[in-house]
Structures are given as C-alpha cells and as structure tokens.
Symmetry: C2
Subunit: 755 residues, 2 copies
C-alpha cells in the first residue's frame, strides 16, 4: 500500500535516490542542497538502501570533485548519484562527457537554477541543464513534486538498461521547494522497477583486476570518429526504454506518463510546447480555454534528450496550425532557444502527410523563478491567434527596449472558488515558514483535502520578508504559481503594513489576520490610512492578536509562530477546531520534542491561549488614520534608488520594465544607506553609567548599527542636542576627548547579539 | 608594406593577440599550447604590444584559474586574453557566462579540439566550442592560417565596440599546426583597426575606487529576467559591427571577408554549409564540380554567434533546393548537430518569397581530425542529388552499424598537376619534422611559390611515425587535407617498409628517396617483395642514401635530418641547387647557431656531402625479394589485436568500420605485448664478464626491454640453448641460483639510456 505524504521536490527525489544508490558524492548548492543534506543525514542515521547497505555519502571540495568521485565510483561498479544545480552542474561538464562516452549508468538529480551572468541568482530556470545538452546525457524533466519522486525512479531504472546516463531535473524552488501531497513509492515499488540483472551487469562493467579491461585511453584521428559513432544505437534505443519503464511504472502505481504527453482539444489549432513546472500553469489555462470552446492544447515534454522526433510528431494533433514553444532559458546570439529550435527541427523532419506545416514561435519565460501564470499562458495562446505573431517573444515581463514581451491580463484567469488560498507575510527566522510547513502537512496528511505550500524568500535570508502561499483543495493541486487572490491573508509583522502593500493579494471578503503589538482597541488607529481603506473597500474580516506579547508571557521570546498558526486554523476552519489543535500539538511535539519538555509545554500553552488572545475588529465606515504608508526609501534618495531600488524594496520589482535595469549588472554603490527596514522589535540602549569603553558592542553588531566615536570635548560644548549623552574618553591617546556610542534604530534588526 | 611569412595558425593568432593585450592568462593545452608558450617567450624577451608595454603573461594552475584571472583583469580595465581548447575551455564556462553577462570586451583564442568522451583525443573538432554556445559569447571561426591571423584582429576590434566577448576559434592541428604563407599584419595595421576611444571606454568600465560601481550582485525573481533582456540590443548589433570591421579590414589589407560568404554557381541548386577548415576541401570540390557544369555552391560560416538569420538567407542563392549542413561535432540525443539545427531554424524564419523552401540534411565529419577531402565533399553533393537523401549522415568513415555513412570515391578528385606534393615518413624526434618545417619556410619565404606544411603525429610522440605533407604551388594553398597522391615520397626509416605501406601515397612516376643502412648495391635485395613490386609498378625514380652512416661519420649521431633535407631539395628541384643549399645553410645557422659553431659546421658538412652520398637505383624488370612485409602484430595475436590493434599499428586505422570499435571505449588489456616496433638502430648487449649484478640497466630502461631474472641452476642444466649466457647469483638470498639479463630487441627503441 502506498502512503500519501507531504514533501517538497528535493525530498521526493532524494528519497528515491538514497534508496537506490551505494555512493552519493555531494557538494550541496542552492536549491539542490536539501537533497545532499537529507542523504547525508539519512546515512548518518543508518538508513539503508534497498540493497540493505547504508549509502556512503561523500562531501567533496567542489562540484568538480563530486563529479570526479561519481565517475570513479561508477568505474568501481557502485550505483552512484549526485545532486547539484547552476554553476555546480557546469563544473561537472568535463566528467559528464566522459561518463556518457563510456556509456555509464548513473543519474544526476538537478534542481535547475539560473547560471550567474550579469548577476548571480539562486532561483530557478533551465539555463544550467541546457548548458549541458552537448554532453550526451539523457535529460528527463519532472514538472511536479510527485514527478520528481516518480521520475527519479524511472531514471535510475532506465539508465541501467539504456547505459546512457540520465540528468533528472526539476525546477529549482518552484518544484524543489514546493511542498505537495504525493503518493510515496515503497521499497517494494523500487525493487519491482529495478532490474537486478542490469544492476549486476553494471557491476560487471567495473574496472577490476579480476576482469581487467582498458578504459580511458587516448585515440587518434584514425579511429576516434568511428568509436564515437559506435554508441549511436544506445541513444536510438533510449526513448523506447524510458517509455517501457513509464508503462511498467503505470502498471505498478497507476500513474501513467509519456515521453511526450498531450492535453487539450482533440482538434487543437494552437498548441504550447513546454517542459518543467510551467506545465502546471499552461495546463490550467488549456482547461479554462477548452472549456470556453477554444481549440488549444499543450504538449508536455518529459524526455528532452534523446529527443524522439517520431513520438513528438505523433503526440501533436494533425490539426495544429500554430505552435508556441516556451523555453525557461536564454541563449543570447542563438537563432532561438533550445526547445524552440528542437521543435522547429522536428517539424522540418516530418515526413508525414500533415495537412499544414505548423508555424512555430518561441518565447522565454520564468527566468530565475519569474512568475509564470495561467493568465500568461493565455496571453501566449492569444498571440498565436495574431495574424503575424511575434517570432520571438518574452512573457512575464515588460520589455520596453527590444519590445519582445507580450502583454497579459492578470485577471483573465481565476482559480476555482473551492480552492482555499492563504498568504502569510513573515520575517525570515520568525518561524512563519516553519509553522506553515507544519500546517500544510497537517491538512495534507490528515484530511481528504490536498495541500500545497510554497515559500517566497528573499536572498537576504534572516531578517527579510517571507511570503508563504498555501493552497487547500478537494482536487490534486498543480498550480505552479503564486496565489494572486487569497481568501486568507496573515501579516505576522505589523511594520510591513507601513511600507508594503500586504493586502493587495486579498480578495473581497477575505479574512485578514494581523499580529499587532498594540491593545485591540488601539490597532485600527495605528494602521496606515491606505490599509484602513483597503480593509473597508474589500470588506475584509479583520482579526488581530498581539502574538509577541503572548509569546513573551509564555517565555517563547519572539517566536510567535505557534500563536499565529493556531489563529490561522481557528479562522480558516479547514479542520474542526479541536482536531486542528490536536494536530498542532502533535507537530509541536515532533518539532520541539528534542529540545525538552519545557519548550513543548510552552508552545502547547501558546496554542491554548492563542484563540482567546485574538479579537475581531469591527470596521468603521470610513478610513481616518493619520498614519500614512511610508515610501520604502526616503524622498531625498538618488534618482536610481527611488526609481529602481525603492520599488524592489517595496516588493514591486516585478513591475520594473527592462529599461529600468542596467544592461550589464552594474549598479550604483552606497544604496543600502537608503534602505531603512525598521524591523527591530527591541533595540539596545547605551547606558553610559556602566560603559567601560571596551567597544565590543560595536564590534559584534553584524549590521553595523552600533557605532562608537571619539571627538574633541569642545566640539560638543553647548552645541549638543538635549539628552545627548557622552563619556570622557579614557584612553591616553586622545586627551580632552569624549566618546559616544549610538544605535541606528532603523538599521538595527533586534537580533540581540550585542546583549 | 606587409610582409609574407610562413607561420602556423597558432603563431598567426598569437602574434596579433600578444600585440593587442596587456594581460594574458594561460594554462597551455594541446593544440593551443604554442599560443601561450609563444606569448610567454615573447614577453620574457621583452616584446611589446602596440601600446608600448610588455604584456603580463600569467600561468595559472588550470584553465579555471586562467579564466578567473581573465575575468578579474578585465574588471580592472586591462585588455586581456587567453588561449585554450577542449576540457580547458569547459573549465572556463562558468566565468564565460559571467564575462558575457557583464558585457565585457575580450577575446579567447581557441584551437578547437575534441572533448574526451569514450577516449581522450588531442585532435581537432568543434565539440569544445559548441559546448560553450549557451554562454552568450560571439563566435568567430577562422578557416585558414591567414584567417586565424586576420580574424584575431577583427575579433579584438569588434569586441571593444560590441561589448559582447568573442570566442575566436580555428581547427586544432589542421589550422593551428599547419604552416602556410600569410600576409603579416603590421603594428600599424593593428593600430588602424583598434579604436582607441573604445579602448578608453573599456578602461573606464573598470571597477575602481575612483569611480565606484557595484558589479557581480545577486538578483531575485523580481528583476533578473528584465535585466537579462536588457542586453538584447548588444547582441542585435554585433553582426553589423563585425561586418563593418571586416569591411574596414578589407580597405586596409585588400582581404574582404563576410559574416557568411557564398562561392559557387550563381544558380546553385545544391549547397553545403560549413565552417572551419572543412571550407578548404569543400571549396575545391565546388570549383571542380562547377567547372563540370554542376549547380553547386558553398556557404562559409564565419560569425557563428550571434547568428544573423537575415544575412544567412541573403547569402543563400534563391535557386537552392537542397542543403547539406556539415557539423564537425556530435551531440548524441539531439535532433541534429548545432549548425544543422541553426540552418533549419533560419530557413523556417525566412519570410521572403523564396521559390522553394530548401530541404536540409545534416552530416558529421572530421571528428578528432578525421580526414575530410574534396572527394568526400563531392560525395555529399552526390547525396544531395539522391531523391531521398539521408536526413542525417556521416562522411569520412564506414558506419556498418547504424549505416549513416556516405560512401565516397577517393579518386573522384585530383589535385592540379602543377601543385608539387611531397610526403616524408620519419620517426618522432629524428628531426624529420623540424627539417621539413625549414623546407617549407625556405620555399615560401624565398621563392614565388606558395608553400604549405602539415605534420601528422601519433600521440605516442617520440619513437612513433611522423608523416610530413608538403605542398608547393604557384597559387595560394587552401587544401585542408592530407596528400593522397604524392610526386615525392621520402622514407627516413628503412624499417617502416617492413610493416607499413609507405608507397601507397606515391603516384606513378614519383620520386622515392629512401634512407637505407646498407651499401647501395645491397638495398634492392633488402626491400620486401611488396615494396619492390610497387616501385616497379609505379615506375618510381628510386634514390637511396645511407644517411645514418654519413651522420655518424660527421659526428651528428642519429640526426639524419640535414642529409635528408639536402637530398630532397636536390631531387625535387623546386629551387636551383646552389640556391637551395645556401638556404639550407642559412636555416642551419638559425636553428643550431646557439649550440655553437661546431654543430653548425658539422651540419653544413652534411649538406655538402649528402648529394654525393645519394645514389639512384636502376630498377629490375621484376620483383624478386625473399623478404616479405611482416604483419604489424604476430600471427598468434588475439583476435581483437589482429583485427583492430594490428590495423591501427599498420597506419590503417582509418579503414576500420564502426563495428570494429568498442561502443564505450573499453579495450582489452595487454595488447602492447603484441606490438613489436623494432625501431632501434642499435641495442645494448649484455657482457657477463663485467656485470656486477647491480640491476641498474633493467631499472633505467624506460621501455622495460631489459629484464633480469634469477633461477635455480638446475633448471637450465643441459636444457639451455647454445650460447645462452648466465652468471652465478651473487646474492646470499638465493643459493644455487644463476641470473641472466636479456634484451628484447623488438621492444628496445635504442634510446641509449642504459649505456
């Protein structure tokens, strides 16, 4: 019996990889790190693979070393894997050519990520995997958490038969970090798919003194070319092998996949071809448009290499007249992006009596995790109806320079009303994300509902805004995009309301939960006028809780997550209240159990007292606040900071057009001075009476928010503002000097290191 | 005034690169090494660039380090370059993405080489440069030594204006190591092409505390995509910029190039598209076929990235119905190779009213320096006339497994009779190649004739066969393939005749010069029967010289090169005899001057005595030798050794079909035991009378050809063959034992280390 579990894509893939391998060489890199870290932890805990041994997890000094280790272990006959992304994958390219040339069975699992160009980015697109498409590896692309689990198995099984190594990849963050409900493959499932005779054949190809062979030779012009062609048959056979394992997998699990899959109208005239998580958004658009009678469809690409031209052409309905190929990568200087060119080439090779040769256009989307929504997919379908569609386009941005971008109407597509959509604003390290991960697991694993959690981080990590997107649905959730209309919005940090349009995402009648460090009757007046107006206009159900005070009273410090999670469950009513409370307490036991009973008890107390601490606010007729939302940067900031940096700080960077960005990644310096985040709940106060002038407070402040300065005494005589405290400088080096220690409240994060 | 010089492609490119740069980061790799080594030597000798400074040449610990150094130096505003190939280029990929993303002007010069797959190969093809085509670099491909010189300049000039970095590449060995006559660019030419305002602009983009900017930041999903699109205009502009510099270059030098160039019939129906040195062979085929009235043509690709679709379509005659695209690379699993897919995509984007959309087929050729000849190009044109041509094919090999290869008739194309063609067989390190390099320089730089030298090495280096291919022509020589019909053949090592078909390349009536360690009247009878028969059948003019004896008499040891070179000039009559002798002596002065006057005098004496030592042999009516050519491996060798290794050792590896080669580079071990090269002119003889049993002779023999063994005395008593010499073992560890030291004459190379 298979079990349903809530996991993210990384865990889904690693769970299979760890159980199927003997050697795992790692050098963790975002967003693939959790695959390596989980494998390391599992092996450290003695977890065994399906062969009954604990995989040897070896961390190297770079991905180049990891790839070399993989190559070496494979040559010793071990079942071997690794996990990587981005530049890490680039460092593996030399070994990848060798591993493929030697027809060596292995799978690399890649959480696909942007390659650093004008700027580094930790986010997801296909530029890394596409940069390895010369290497002769098979490339299998999973589009969801379930597929990252399933395709990991299919890849490991197929490579043993095909002898072509497999790159199994899925979208960094969108799939690697999305938590979704999957049917977990059991060890028996894995065993049923893995042909042990092929495992044995792999072992027998090892370099061994018992059966010595020569491998890794040098060849000259006389034979290299012939030898290179000698592997052709293996590539020719690989697509059939993958499809056979897909079919066998379907018999075992009921989940049927195809190398290419078509969904949409049988008589589609306009079709999108795409691979990766973008499939989720396009499929919803197709369902929506087909329901309105439009003749559209989607070809999902699963096995990108070897590209099976015949199967691709068979998958495409004969009625198709226009095709838009979406590539999640950019290759400046090429005729078009890789998948586009492949589709063009495949169609050019079509010998069939297809009534029309489809007109093909190609678009870039989703670079570095740029949002890609069903509304955008509908804009692409609309472009395909244009008499002269753009041959090359972008979707998801506004290109006001080379004018390649398509416009889209964000409201063209709405999610079904029975999908519950909750968005939470938290601060990095305030526990919001962790609590929300628990929440989706509680719902996904304990109710008939399907659940999905996706978490938007800023690469500033601790101290930056986190936005959690949670969906709960009676149907499996394939919505691979952020929530843009939420029926529940929680703001875990009051100060976000002062600079950021938190309620933009709230739909009319939504519930709004606010953690506010004020008395209940004081909260309304503390809201900026713009927020008051939104609450009234959208008729929100508005609840407040002073979670920080409650957490403080219970000895939880600034950890407000348990209080906020309890309030969410109470308001969202996804589960009966008592049941949800029991689940939260179980999760507390699981999360904090190893920190001791006291911590568990404090959190359980927070659950019990959270609901009584929460209050609904009656809405007045009109907004009347004297507080205004502040601009993210001061009015006196330089032009670039106001025009570009300011919008990025306000969370509105998506609205910046191409012209706003430097062409080569070159930015002005010193702009951090204009970012006043004011995120500290408490700040240090200098007490001159006990100061020994050691300077340590200034030294340890990681944000340079505590500065000390010595100055001539006469420079402040009479001119200092009232209350300006100083001390005579005790050092002999500067006679007649005073010193001061000052804290910059807006730059301080309240991290407490100085205390 | 420009000067004509004989240089190879590496020197041609490095000469420009060294003069145009300030920082040169190197990590030499075959076949690009000479570019780095020359730059290092020039800077060590104080040679200045056109800015009056000596370029700083920095050798790193790998190509990854070299690329990082380039990136860093560029960010400091220095004009910077590097040279690399193959895996070296792969290690540069991460930095290449960054350099391009930051729109940084630089040129990498690449002697394109195979990437190691089933086997390493030091030879030439485009698999390395093609593996970097995702990086966003412009790619400019030189097809000849002159172009490697000219395009180096155009690339350096264009990158400063375009801001897109340039990969300037040419074919490893075929261009990098071919010596040809070029018009040398003067410093004034370089200055005239390099816009100093753009150099200044490059410097001003440096990271500097005087003008601080931020570069190398991290970006999030909000803006990365827009910023990536912000560079589009630079790529759009690059082809025009390159063409403008080509045009400016033509005004300066009279040599006009185009991004794409067409040659052939104005009304061509069948066209080959190709880049790199293959152009030379195809162009000769086109000239030949057009002269016979065939409607064929050639599109030369110079600027591969950014690929200018519009210019490509304009270059292609409207009459074209069939196109064969030749790729010098292989990407297993792709629909087709890169240039093929680009041509297909470009044609699909053609909006013009072209009467027919051409049918495109794609072929691989020349992997790892596999020969590509005009005859093969003619076979491709023939395939294009086939009603159903192979969509994907190979040319230059016999594929009896996947049947992709085209057959060709090697005799379909003959070089013009007025092109003198000389082929020399020598032994690695016997001086043959060095002397032949001098010979082509003498002719190219001192006569109205054009000259070309190309040298085929075995990767065994010292002790293996070298084959020198020299052409002399009244016209510029673009024949980018080996000589297959020579009017002069020299065999510098008699023993080659015993195992290798040296005279296969000789055409009827050719001159054959043999170095034979025998008296003149004894030579004929020493020839294997097969060789006698060839000499008679082909009516060769047969000359012999005992160069080794003459060299020995003159104190030159085994250095026979001066003797053989003098004989060549005397027989070939390319120059009046006295003139050629004077040139040889000048070359001796240049080559050996620094070793002192004695060496120079000895070599000059060799020149003076060579001609009298040479004798023509009168040919008998019939062959009568009792000697037979031996098989390269013994009859009792294992099947694989006889079938595969044996042919490779005989220099016939080109004839092996695909089925003969392992699919994954795995070979049987221990096969070197069957290769008996017998190349030693003298071998050591064990003298038991003076042996102290120290074992050093066995220890120092680099070829393991001297073995010592101790054995029980009674094991040889009475059974030893006559003359078997042994000594009583002096060690106390083995009482009643004898020892013997034996030399394996066929394995000994006569290197003399043991003496």
């Amino acid at each position: 019996m298979s079990q349903s579990v809530m996991v993210d894509g990384n865990e889904a893939a690693a769970s299979v990889a760890h159980r199927l391998n003997e050697v795992i060489a790692i050098y963790p890199i975002t967003p693939a790190s959790p695959m390596g870290e989980l494998s390391d932890a599992w092996s450290a805990a003695g977890r065994r693979n399906i062969f009954g041994t604990v995989p040897s997890v070896i961390e190297m000094q770079s991905e180049a070393g990891a790839a070399g280790t993989v190559h070496g272990a494979l040559q010793a006959g071990a079942l071997t894997t690794t996990f990587t992304a981005s530049q890490g994958l680039l460092l593996m390219i030399p070994n990848m050519f060798k591993i493929a040339g030697e027809l060596t069975s292995t799978v690399f699992h890649v959480a696909a990520r942007s390659i650093a160009t004008h700027a580094l980015s930790i986010f997801g697109d296909h530029s890394d995997v596409m940069a390895t498409r010369s290497t002769g590896w098979a490339m299998l692309c999973a589009a969801s958490v379930q597929e990252a689990h399933d395709f990991a198995l299919v890849a490991h099984a197929a490579t043993l038969e095909a002898r072509v190594p497999f790159l199994h990849f899925f979208d960094g963050f969108r799939t690697s970090h999305e938590i979704n409900l999957i049917e977990e493959l059991s060890d028996d499932d894995l065993r049923a798919m893995l042909p042990m005779d092929l495992v044995q054949a792999h072992r027998e190809r090892a370099l061994s003194p018992d059966r010595p062979v020569l491998r890794g030779s040098a060849q000259n012009p006389d034979v290299f070319f012939q030898a290179r062609e000698a592997a052709n048959s293996f590539y020719d056979a690989t697509p059939d092998i993958v499809q056979q394992y897909f079919d066998r997998f379907a018999e075992l699990t009921g989940r049927q996949y195809g190398i290419f899959e078509y969904v949409g109208a049988d008589d589609a005239e306009r079709v999108i071809v795409v691979m990766g998580s973008g499939i989720g958004a396009v499929e919803e658009a197709v369902q929506h448009l087909v329901a309105s009678g439009e003749k559209v469809g989607l070809v999902k690409v699963r096995l990108y290499r070897p590209l099976d031209v015949k199967r691709f052409l068979e998958t495409l309905p004969d009625t198709v007249q226009r095709i838009a190929v979406l590539d999640r990568t950019k290759e400046p200087g090429a005729v078009g992006e890789p998948l586009y060119q492949d589709v063009v080439a495949a169609l050019a090779e079509s010998d069939s009596a297809r009534p029309v040769r489809p007109h093909v256009i190609g678009g870039r989307f989703g670079l570095s995790s740029k949002e890609f929504t069903p509304a955008m997919a509908e804009a692409v379908f609309a472009e395909l109806r244009n008499p002269t569609p753009k041959r090359h386009f972008t979707i998801g941005i506004k290109d006001d320079v080379t004018h390649l971008s398509l416009d889209w109407d964000a409201d063209a597509f709405r999610e079904p009303a029975d999908v519950r959509r909750a968005v939470f604003y938290g601060l990095g390290s305030d526990g919001t994300v962790g609590a929300n991960k628990n929440s989706v697991k509680i719902v996904g694993e304990n109710t008939p509902l399907f659940a999905q959690g996706y978490f938007v981080y800023d690469s500033k990590k601790a101290g930056a805004v986190t936005i959690s997107h949670l969906r709960f649905s009676p149907r499996p959730i394939h919505s691979t995009y952020l929530i843009n209309r939420a029926d529940f919005v929680a703001c875990h940090q009051f100060q976000f309301l002062e600079t950021r349009d938190v309620l933009d995402v709230a739909e009319t009648g939504a519930t709004f939960l606010l953690n506010a460090p004020y008395e209940t009757d004081e909260v309304w007046s503390r809201l900026p006028l713009e927020v008051q107006q939104q609450i009234i206009d959208k008729e929100l159900k508005f609840y407040v809780v002073d979670a920080l005070r409650l957490a403080g009273e219970l000895g939880l410090g600034t950890r407000i997550n348990t209080v906020m999670q309890t309030c969410f469950f109470a308001l969202a009513e996804i589960l009966p209240r008592e049941e949800s409370i029991a689940h939260i307490k179980q999760a507390i036991q699981k999360t904090y159990g190893k920190r001791g009973d006291v911590v568990v008890q404090k959190n359980c107390a927070a659950v019990d007292r959270a609901i009584e601490a929460m209050h609904q606010i009656e809405l007045p007729e009109t907004a009347s606040s004297e507080v205004r939302r502040r601009p993210p940067v001061p009015e006196n900031s330089p032009d670039f900071v106001k025009r570009v940096t300011g919008l990025m700080l306000a969370g509105l960077g998506d609205r910046l057009p191409v012209s706003a960005l430097p062409v080569d990644g070159t930015f002005p310096t010193g702009t951090a001075a204009f970012e006043k985040r004011s995120i500290a709940h408490s700040i240090p106060i200098w007490d001159p009476d006990i100061c020994i002038q050691c300077g340590l407070c200034s030294l340890v402040c990681p944000h340079a928010a505590i500065r000390s300065k010595a100055f001539p005494q006469n420079s402040v005589n009479g001119n200092a503002p009232a209350g300006f405290q100083t001390l005579p400088w005790t050092g002999k080096d500067l006679p007649d000097h005073n010193m001061v220690i000052q804290v910059a409240p807006d730059d301080c994060t309240g991290c407490g290191v100085c205390v």
